[in-house]
Amino acid sequence: MLLDATILFQIAGIGIITALIHTVLKQVGKEDIAQFVSLVGFIIVLVIVIHHLADLFQQIKSVFLLKGF
């Protein structure tokens, strides 16, 4: 599930778009807004990753719980 293609595309897409917006804004001179947008993009990616990591840990926990006695 972690390696589900959709999530990968999502994260990659957000990363690319954030980079592009950052560049456009930087070109216009609004560096501060550009940094802010990058930050937002990063946080969103982080949230998605953590969300899926939580799922992963749940899975690992359930595997160990089954295996462990």
């Binding site: 897409g13 957000i14 778009i17 592009l20 917006i21 456009v24 804004l25 070109q27 216009v28 993009g41």
Partner: protein, 170 residues
């Protein structure tokens, strides 16, 4: 279904981006048109001695939308008995602001100019017209600067933000 929604979203943000970009271009065009109209008024005042109503009529035929609409409204309103010229001017100006890309600064300049119309000798009238043109040219410079800086940015941002939101939501 999802794809259609996504497409609609991207089209919407793109359209908004393009619209904002066009407004910048429109603002410069409209300020130029208004300056042109003021120069026409000046020529008429100095050389032809026509009444304001006739001058507005001439100008409305030689300018582009939405400036010509403004002068057309003024021509029409002046054919009745006018108690307060300024009321008529301000009303037409408010309507112009709604349909044009002009901003508050231009509105103030045009409003002030209206107060000087037809109240002075032709020499003083010329001075008032020259002053208004000077102010508007300053605004034109600013508008051109804004357009050059942000025109492309608005369009790209429109598209990018659309894709961004789609990616987050789906």
């Amino acid at each position: 279904m999802k794809w259609i929604g996504a497409l609609i979203l991207i089209c919407t943000t793109t359209w908004i981006g393009f619209d904002m970009s066009n407004r910048l271009g429109d603002r410069t065009k409209q300020i130029r048109q208004f300056i042109l109209s003021l120069q026409m008024i000046e020529a008429e005042v100095v050389y032809s001695q026509l009444t304001l109503q006739d001058i507005f009529h001439t100008v409305s035929n030689k300018t582009a939308y939405p400036i010509n609409e403004f002068y057309r409204q003024m021509t029409h309103k002046l054919s009745d008995v006018v108690t307060d010229f300024l009321d008529v001017w301000d009303e037409a100006l408010n309507r112009l602001m709604k349909v044009s890309a002009l901003k508050k600064n231009e509105q103030e300049i045009i409003k002030q100019f209206g107060r000087s119309l037809g109240q002075h000798s032709s020499l003083q009238q010329q001075k008032h017209i020259a002053l208004a043109i000077h102010h508007l040219e300053r605004e034109l410079d600013e508008a051109l600067e804004q357009r050059d800086k942000y025109e492309k940015m608005m369009r790209s941002l429109g598209v990018l933000i659309g894709i961004f939101i789609v990616l987050i939501l789906f």
